[in-house]
Symmetry: C2
Subunit: 186 residues, 2 copies
């Protein structure tokens, strides 16, 4: 039996059960590999882009932002949602970096995709490394409040290893960038 | 002005808008740092544990599992939800590893917490490195289908760097484990 036959779940039906401004929830019915029927709850999401902006002297532009679900300020890399399901991810990354930090970048490297939670959401965040930075004016959304700080990459890595930084996309992007930069120059 | 005053959002109200078996959604009203009122949609989650089970010869026990939101089989580390908000995370990790792989482990190292999506969920996954492995019988949930494979840690790391593995908790846990093991022996 092929792996697909052993593991595949086939959709029978799909029903929208909640649509907010941000969250969009469906209850689906599926046929399991053993022929039984099960329900699946999923959250649809257009996707996002996240950026590790690194200066010539190896500092990362990090954000301090209040995150309501955690009820505290956390340290994370710049990121933002796509404008729609078909927006180019690099274009979204450039826009979000400019809006949140005022920075534009000469060089963009795609560090790969990051799926925050494969159990329940379609969300995919594409991770980028941006260098050759130029500073300018930032333009935050009306309900967006965040502070910026420049932190040496090795200190961000240490904060991740010490558990002080626990934001998922930040752990993934910074550790991938750090590994990439151990064998490539900017 | 303190960072808290600059960034903090204060809850005004909270309303449950959807409760499924897995997903639990609230629409809250908050006061922003500038005094304006905004809405926040959040998903409450009890949390989870994820495990990097590593053999004496440096191979990781990986899972191949169909993930319905992505409509495909993906490669990931063993993981599972807490039984309730107060379950001990190490106990949950031990239970899930045993259920999904049949493995028990002598040595457990806490690699830190991982927040999959700070924008909209309270979910926190605690990451563990497990070694001194003993194989036994696995005991999957009725609607759970997954295949196991043993892969050298360096190959898992390479698949992450190449973008072949994109599951968030797997990227975070494997790269943290790899970095930890570069300076510690098992």
């Amino acid at each position: 039996m092929s792996e697909k036959d052993e593991l595949f779940e086939k959709q029978i039906s799909s029903k929208e059960v909640y649509k907010g401004k941000l969250l969009w929830i469906f209850e689906d019915q599926v046929t399991l590999p053993n022929g039984q029927i099960a329900s699946r709850e999923i959250m649809k999401h257009n996707g996002a882009a996240a950026i590790v902006p690194i200066t010539e002297d190896g500092k990362v532009i990090m954000e301090r932002q209040f995150r309501y679900p955690l009820n505290r300020v956390i340290t994370e890399i710049p990121a933002g949602k796509l404008d729609g399901p078909n927006e180019d991810r690099l274009e979204a990354a450039k826009r979000e970096l400019k809006e949140e930090t005022g920075i534009t970048a000469d060089t963009w490297i795609n560090l790969g995709d990051y799926y925050p939670s494969v159990a329940y959401t379609t969300e995919c965040i594409t991770l980028f490394l941006a260098s050759g930075l130029h500073k300018g004016e930032r333009k935050l959304d009306e309900d967006e409040f965040l502070n910026l700080e420049e932190v040496p990459l090795e200190d961000v890595v240490q904060d991740i290893m010490d558990g002080k930084i626990a934001d998922g996309k930040t752990i993934a992007a910074i550790l991938k960038a750090d590994k990439y930069l151990s064998t490539h120059s900017l």
